[in-house]
Chain length 730, copies 2
Amino acid sequence: MLQQKKETQIPLTRYRLGKPFVTGAVALGESNFSCETLSHLQVFTSEKQADGTVVLSRTMTRDTEIFGLGQTMGNVNKRGARYRMYAIDDFQHTPEKESLYGSHPFFIWKSKSEVFGIFVDYPGEVIFDVGFSDCNKLTITIATANLDVYFLQGSSLKNVTKNFLQLVGKPFLPPRWSFGYHQSRWGYVTQQDVEGIVAKFETHQIPLDAVYLDLDYMDDFKVFTISEERFPKFKNMISAFKTKGIRVAPIIDPGVKIEKGYEVYEQGMEQGFFITDKEGKPFQASVWPGLTHFPDFLNPKARAWWGSKYKMLHDMGIDGFWNDMNEPAIFYSPEGLEKSVKTLVDTTTKDKNLGIKFLFLVDEIKKSQNSRDDMKAMYHQTPSQGRVSQDLVHNLFGMKMAESVKEGYDSFAPDVRYHLLSRSTYIGQHRFSGMWTGDNASWWEHLKLNIQHMCSLGLCGFYYAGADIGGFSYDTSGELLTRWNQLAVYMPLFRNHSNLFCKQQEPWAFDSETLNHSRNSIRFRYALLPYLYSSYVEALESCEPPIRMLGFDFEEDARARSIEDQFLCGSSLLAAPIMVNQGRGRVVYLPQTHLHWNVESLEERSQLKVLPKGDHYVEAPLGASPLFLRENAILPLAEPGRNSDSFGPVMTVLGLVTDVATFTLHWDDGQSKSLKEKCQLKISVRRTKDSLSGHFETLAGQLKTLPWRSISFEIYGIDGNVQRFTKELV
Amino acid sequence: MLQQKKETQIPLTRYRLGKPFVTGAVALGESNFSCETLSHLQVFTSEKQADGTVVLSRTMTRDTEIFGLGQTMGNVNKRGARYRMYAIDDFQHTPEKESLYGSHPFFIWKSKSEVFGIFVDYPGEVIFDVGFSDCNKLTITIATANLDVYFLQGSSLKNVTKNFLQLVGKPFLPPRWSFGYHQSRWGYVTQQDVEGIVAKFETHQIPLDAVYLDLDYMDDFKVFTISEERFPKFKNMISAFKTKGIRVAPIIDPGVKIEKGYEVYEQGMEQGFFITDKEGKPFQASVWPGLTHFPDFLNPKARAWWGSKYKMLHDMGIDGFWNDMNEPAIFYSPEGLEKSVKTLVDTTTKDKNLGIKFLFLVDEIKKSQNSRDDMKAMYHQTPSQGRVSQDLVHNLFGMKMAESVKEGYDSFAPDVRYHLLSRSTYIGQHRFSGMWTGDNASWWEHLKLNIQHMCSLGLCGFYYAGADIGGFSYDTSGELLTRWNQLAVYMPLFRNHSNLFCKQQEPWAFDSETLNHSRNSIRFRYALLPYLYSSYVEALESCEPPIRMLGFDFEEDARARSIEDQFLCGSSLLAAPIMVNQGRGRVVYLPQTHLHWNVESLEERSQLKVLPKGDHYVEAPLGASPLFLRENAILPLAEPGRNSDSFGPVMTVLGLVTDVATFTLHWDDGQSKSLKEKCQLKISVRRTKDSLSGHFETLAGQLKTLPWRSISFEIYGIDGNVQRFTKELV
């Protein structure tokens, strides 16, 4: 009986302590797994501390590696540092930072003898000390004694990851245009600015799918309004862009300006939809619009109300959004700022001769920003546990805000796939939301962090993600942008974004070389788009992240597991971009035989070489980026057009085939949840002693819905010789 | 005639504009080079701008590399970023920072067709845009139209560097104990603390040469005082340590507390030795002791007075110092702070609803720290140009403070070699001062920066330098300390230093593994000490920096020039330490054949392997660090004792010899400028078809002054076989 049970269930157990808050992370019904009390958890010792926290701990063997933990600083192998799950808006992503915007308390323990997953489903503060204080000890400190710990047995990283996604659900599928090139900047202030940017893409013949609107499209930073002064013909602009296949994605901030007569404010007040303070009055804090109230996304009615607000934008033709400031970010509460100013005045008046005391004053004002005291002073109204302090459910704010979008679309446009980026995220949110990695910097170091984040986020279910290309803060050089483009062409979200205070960083904002390199990279992105889109769709089924560390596929190769500056993209590609200033080559580790293509432009495909497993130094002039195609893998390459709806009729299939290689192309209308015009085309290449042949097979749908009419095969053998032949798609 | 002139002169020309301030950087008399006006400079175009600045600019060819610029962020090849020579106390060494503590406006232009050096001898702000704004343009912006530009012709990096050191003078030779292991922390508050630390080194059997005193040894932060409360038997402590061979190095800050009756203050006031404000009154600003005045180091009389103050410490047995806060660092001037507080109060009182304005207030107090307005409000009294604004000679403050030490010792202890670290430095200061790289962080990224800084500083003449091992700010992990120790054993200054607010980071502050690894590294350092000391002495003659980039020795190897995470140490060694968290191996590029030693401990020397030129992946468990010994080079290794005065009688000479290898050991009493007991021992190993032999030859002095009685040769051949033999030193 027990055996039978195991076969139908996922091999996982939930261990519970106290009365956990239901986060919504878990999508699977309780009947599908075993439930125990935390004291029965074998693999970790758990202890309740005097201060109310609960500590789980375990000794790591020398060969133990820890993977996961989503959006945290540092390595993909998380050992050797400390991480704090407590969402925060902090734009300085320096290596010592323990918290960022998202909270993803799931990791995989990997040693020679064990592979298992641990998900600490707790919505407040959780600290992971992964061999930092003591190099051989992993300790997890949970803020209170109400939590669920899920233990996922497994035999491999793949296996644990797959089981985890059965628990928390599969990632959402954004529209196809989400996979195009996106341009953004806090600094496109007027309609003219935005139209000018779009026009420049046309002038420079660079494909484009979306342009983002930052704060300035709103009237006085009021969410769900549009500035008539700066965007006098907003609706016209949206539709004019749409005819060109260009989408607009406005920013959405949760802070609702306190202003009599402003509809969103009035409705929220009237219906009691705002987060309250200790006394039950709407909590006040300042963000972009000045003093605001925050919607209580944990209250289902408030969430539904907020979700319905997106309809106004949807009706104008907008189906893309980025939910920002949802940690929640707080500039200051009046009490907090008053306290800080008072401290400053008192100290400096009392003592004109401060010395060392001055150093403690320097950040006094900053203290009122994102203060934990403010989080503690905020209260949600929840269906399951009534009034709950924000601090205790802190990490859910971003997720529940995103859920409002999902629920909104479910009601007013149930078949429409929306594009949604959220800055703050929690486990489970990937079912209905994408994300970006927040306000990074124009630092070379953040290219590597981009890869590390994507690999760690993938393990936690966040497939649709990406970083701000070029870097959000500080001035970028043309070379940094060039290299970042070369890296980001593989990422699901490919968005160039920067802030008001730094140099412009659109492709043309530097010199002619940078413009050419950028155009080449973006065109290459569009060539890859069918591959990336298909790989994403495949990943939803296989639960193998589209972007992942080498160790995911080559788990028994310790060297592969240690690589932090290369990554796998889909089932065919390994990318090893250049990530250092003035780098003109690099060493790459190949865990098996690959075909090396130094991508300069889509069209330049001479000099491809077969390289065996091992270390190789490969040259890469500024315009070129090292890409590797696996043995017995093929890569479809489209002819890029203006955007993700426009491709030439010939699909090239590049391959390194010594036996059999297959790839399934997934295509559809790109915007419906019901996947209208869905077509699945299985392409295969087979080499025998005497022959090489290409095949295709329609697994679903009809060929005529595809934009391609023929496939041009370009297949390499182990000897490095290439054979070319074409097949009509009929 | 012209030809003859060239032979006796260095091939350099000074180009002058206006009336430059004499910085003291140049040590060579004017008769030794040609002098021209700036308009005659061919290699750069120069242009006076409307704002009074002068801009030098030149187009870089694609292959142009720029080396030098000393203590700046980023690559050894400086291309692709912007740097600002304007000394600042900024502890956040993030990649976008344009200025750090030191100002070293010298670089070498290297392209296929040209190698030359440019030294912009200007003591105020100089901005180098090295292909940042435009990837192919180098522009240098000098704040005013009074400057000297030295153009150094050359044929190689070596050649230009050597010529540069002829111009600015050779580096100073600190005492031998400067090359030992040093322990420091802002946080050893009492005599008991310091004695406890020293005792722990004995308990754990870790050699030690010096312990540093940070702020707390002083009475109320008053420079040149000693707290009787916290250090009741200061003098006894110094002498007790000295009998054990342990030196003490106190911090020296320039800010003199304003306090009636305090001798240094009274003397400075009486004699008018302080920097003045616009009206000629002593300038006031707050630093550690509260409100202070700053000595006017540019006034020779004030400098002499300050220099004489070190005698008090010298007389107690102290000959080591670290001059801190000499950018100069300013917490605030009363005017500056008042202005900031007023802005804060005004803004927050006027507007309770700040929104975006708040973000501009966050750093309002910080604005009063190290404010340029304050630098502009300070005045020096100089012999050459009378009253000069601090802003215009800003970068000389640290150098002139160090010069006071030199001048002091010249007068009261002319034959004593002092140990001196300065935080702020300018070109030329290397003649009489060492430096450390300031308040770095416990970031893995700062290991690479440590190498990059050392390589760039070496080109500018700063040979005696090093970074805070373990990192000054933020918590360190045992693994980070282990890897940093493994890197820093090769650096002239090997000091563990951290701050009051982070975890302790002495070798025993983690786990037993870290303690063992640290002990191994520090013992290895002492084994290397004769090599490092001799290499340093050799470098003073050869003008080839003891720590340098691979491209310095392998200039025609473009790959070698691009390596930023390996370095050469002396004439025999190439080091490729592990610099990433959880790294257990790495790829190393060898520009020629080397012997690979994975250093775990001094004694563990099995499994040494000969590796040919090229890329190699080498394993390195946490306790091991990859080291490479050149073909036809030898490495003397001593038996470590308690400190730099105590070695066992056997010197091991490890070698990879296929023909002839030599190394000259330099030894002396370790403390006198006159190099008492000087002995130079030339060791050589020769391999012929049939035989392998070791030789020694006394080039100077007497063998009996050396601590070694025999040499144990351990010589590898190209086949990886080792031969061992011993020679008595008689």
